[in-house]
Subunit: 312 residues, 2 copies
């Protein structure tokens, strides 16, 4: 493993990595327990790298260093582990982050599920970033960077053994590049960002409405969704608004810069389907209200329970 990931930090083979940092930093952690561990569009290793890269990006940070910790169940096939390791290496290179420290534990058969991965990350805050729910104001526009619900539907349809005409793939991707472009261009007029993983866009919007004590209006027909994902959601009885995403983020920007933000996102391969999906309002504080395709308005609540366990 040392050989695969070799760099000056790992080569010290110490209990931790040592490096220079200065200024405002972001620090995040996530454990990945997705099932199945290999899925259309990726595997748990790639997901674990992109997930922590994206958590840092959402803080307005430029991701720099990752830690990597495995909990392996006895009996995991070495070929599978190796394939995951290679994906981790490739994903970290693609995202421009270094894996600098790690840990591996093994548990008995039946005390884990093949492989769980924790990645924690450190990034340096972009000089023009100032991301906080406190900065969200009435009138701000809400933008989603791409088609929603693709990851969740891809995993769930695979779990259920469903095959759709066009095989959907997880959208797992590192968002640090597109976020950097956005911050370079729009700077502090980006007020808030969040990647709607577990719980989807509806959950993130509800959290934001609760935190900033403002209302949120969402226009259903403005939300970009692949036709086959919508179809699969209908078949599976899912609302795409609650389905997990991996390579998509939501941002809240000053209304006067919304069009510019949208164009910036669309210039990036991961943002070509970006769309303005709604806005922040002083009305119905704490609530998310959706205008449906046929023009009706309804409150979008938190989902009770977890719609899709082990989706990330």
């Amino acid at each position: 493993m040392f050989d695969l990931f070799k760099n000056d930090h790992l080569n010290q083979q110490h209990d931790g990595a040592i490096f220079n940092l200065s200024g405002l930093c972001a620090f995040s952690t996530d454990s990945y327990v997705i099932s199945p561990i290999f899925f259309r569009g990726g595997n748990i290793g790639e997901l674990a790298v992109n997930g922590s890269v994206n958590d840092l990006a959402m803080c307005g940070a430029i991701p720099k260093f990752l830690s990597l910790a495995f909990i392996l169940e006895e009996g995991l096939r070495m070929e599978e582990f190796w394939e995951i390791l290679v994906s981790i290496k490739n994903a970290s290179e693609a995202a421009g982050v270094q894996i600098v420290t790690g840990d591996t534990k093994v548990v008995e058969k039946g005390k884990g599920d093949k492989i769980f991965i924790n990645t924690s990350g450190i990034g340096v805050i972009h000089p023009q970033a100032n991301i906080s729910f406190n900065r969200v104001s009435p009138g701000d526009k809400i933008i989603v960077s791409g088609n929603i619900a693709t990851h969740g539907v891809a995993i769930l349809s695979q779990r259920k053994g469903l095959e759709f005409e066009t095989s959907m793939e997880s959208d797992t991707a590192p968002l640090n590049g597109i976020v950097k472009n956005l911050l370079d261009t729009i700077g502090t007029d980006v007020h808030f960002m969040r990647d709607p993983t577990r719980g989807g866009v509806a959950t993130v919007m509800n959290e934001l409405a609760g935190q900033c004590k403002l209302g949120i209006d969402i226009i259903q027909k403005a939300i970009p969704t692949l036709e086959e994902v919508e179809g699969a959601c209908e078949m599976l009885g899912l609302d795409p608004l609650y389905v997990a995403n991996e390579g998509v983020f939501v941002c809240v920007v000053n209304a006067t810069r919304a069009e510019e933000a949208l164009q910036t996102l669309r210039q990036h391969p991961f943002g070509k389907n970006a769309a303005i999906i709604g806005e922040v309002t002083a009305q119905h504080a704490g609530q998310v209200v959706l205008t449906s395709k046929i023009g009706g308005r309804r409150v979008v609540n938190y989902l009770t329970g977890e719609q899709l366990p082990r989706i990330c």
Copy 2:
């Protein structure tokens, strides 16, 4: 959970924590899968905090921030989880570190084992620290900070349902305080530090001998070990040199400062049994040689396999 750990970082409820750092930093990660999760002398929560605090301390860092990620198995009792959370809070306060970001995942019954915890940590390198195997030289003295093998024997005897006359307890403890005292006093004459967790003192010494391409001589009778731990090891067929520790570290110091280092360690409650146990030599490069209590000399190899699985 937010209420229990509340601080300015967690209160932002973002995907990551943001703080100022400057200078040389250390970053470490460890997952904890110990079984049983409650044991004499502590529980998995306390262990997870102390473990990452100690990994940072071994790098010569002053631990500052921890992340905290849980993988819970369905069916874990809320009272048990709460007790672990309270231990985590107390241990982080005792060590003077802040828990600034976290994650919780739940897996189905039979896909985990009650609770696994990952902590990752960030620390700032002590201004007088310069810890690296590259700095180890022939003649350097090897010091252990306390009685060895206590943690491993306490866990294993509990697992096997053995009761000894004096009930042994895990020595889990945060080592950042005692390490800071050592670095304040001895500074760059501390060449190397490592806490001998999995694999014990023998494994750490073998790793060091391999890394610095020098020999290591250990004097068996100089190694501090509780009498009941030695007795239990005999009964269980274990060599204390390979048994895991949690609140003990090994340091390699310039010979001219060894006595001063020893006295500094002994002034701290966690170091009162500190002892010089051997030295680095230009002989038998890459090998650890033990002089036994009866005066014989034998090579101490790496242990094949893991003596005590899920000990941390």
